[in-house]
Symmetry: C2
Subunit: 164 residues, 2 copies
DNA sequence: GGAAGATTGTTGTTGACGACAACAATTGCC
DNA sequence: GGCAATTGTTGTCGTCAACAACAATCTTCC
């Protein structure tokens, strides 16, 4: 391995099974090393799974969380606006909101100024729920720190800042 | 073609729409900033799209590329082995290989030693095709460099090295 | 003021993907 | 020799991105 990297990490991951490393078979991923997309994809899967697991009790998935967070921070947004700023398709957002509205976390209010659009708001229940979700999300974020290291996480955020 | 996506961060991304930045509306993503998962997800989507676009002419998707690469580097692997080392489910690999075998890039050979399993090999055609794919993948990798910077890309790879 | 065009929410379809469950063929173990 | 485990396969389910079409509603322009 010419990779001067990875000395700060636990070598093997036993129990949690997130990383399927070579177990004494030593197969060469070779050409895949050096591909940013591959590393990012694997990491994204890991992070996603941990998020889902950590917020499992409250049954909130990453996309749902991002929607709630944006609405909470910007009440009255239209679906179009939320979709655009999260990079979600508006068609997809419809179902997401259907679900969140059924759970009484979000409500759609017809806009007075533009009767095509809906103004999105958290319900009172949604507000308190979101507060809880945020605590759990922070816990998840600590898992990330534990996994890749505090400084590495910060650098990651810095590097990817303008994708947010 | 080569829309040569974004050489040095055009502040706004108009056409390709990968990065939905605020267009003079200035909505607060606020709470989402600081979430590694969110940044990674957005980045992953961007990188994925660029890969698909760059390898669009040859009709190869990231997962297919990773399968071909691993088989090319380790001829004779079983499906189980490939699946495990790529973190793909063996059920899913079946369809991937069906497609790649139809395109005469890969062939399944019944193993002599274990007649349950298939030894996977690239066809001659598959070898030359993969060489071309690798050149295109390298081009894609340059797009990543252009997008986030050379050092940042290297740091990213270093940070995520043990997920590969 | 009204027709033409754009936008917003909605419904539906397609395809890639991860997660599971079940099954036949085969192998390994005792 | 029999029984559990493994391998490839098929199928289902739910998430997600990408489109396309549509009705209701603005906006623009003549």
């Amino acid at each position: 391995m010419t990779t001067t990297a990875a000395q700060t990490f636990p070598r093997k991951r036993g129990a949690n099974g997130a990383t399927p490393r070579n177990d004494a078979d030593e197969i060469g991923l070779d050409a895949l090393v050096g591909h940013a997309g591959y590393a990012v994809r694997r990491f994204q899967i890991w992070i996603f799974q941990d998020f889902v697991k950590t917020l499992g009790n409250v049954d909130i998935r990453p996309t749902q969380y991002s929607v709630l967070t944006v609405i909470g921070a910007n009440p009255g947004l239209s679906q179009m606006a939320v979709a655009k700023h999260l990079g979600i398709e508006r068609a997809r957002l419809v179902h997401l909101l259907d679900s969140l509205e059924q759970r009484r976390l979000v409500k759609r209010v017809r806009s007075k100024t533009d009767r095509r659009s809906h103004a999105l708001h958290l319900t009172a229940q949604g507000e308190t729920a979101l507060a809880k979700f945020k605590r759990l999300a922070a816990e998840h974020e600590r898992h990330v720190e534990d996994r890749i290291g505090k400084e590495n996480r910060e650098q990651l955020l810095r590097i990817l800042a303008d994708f947010t």
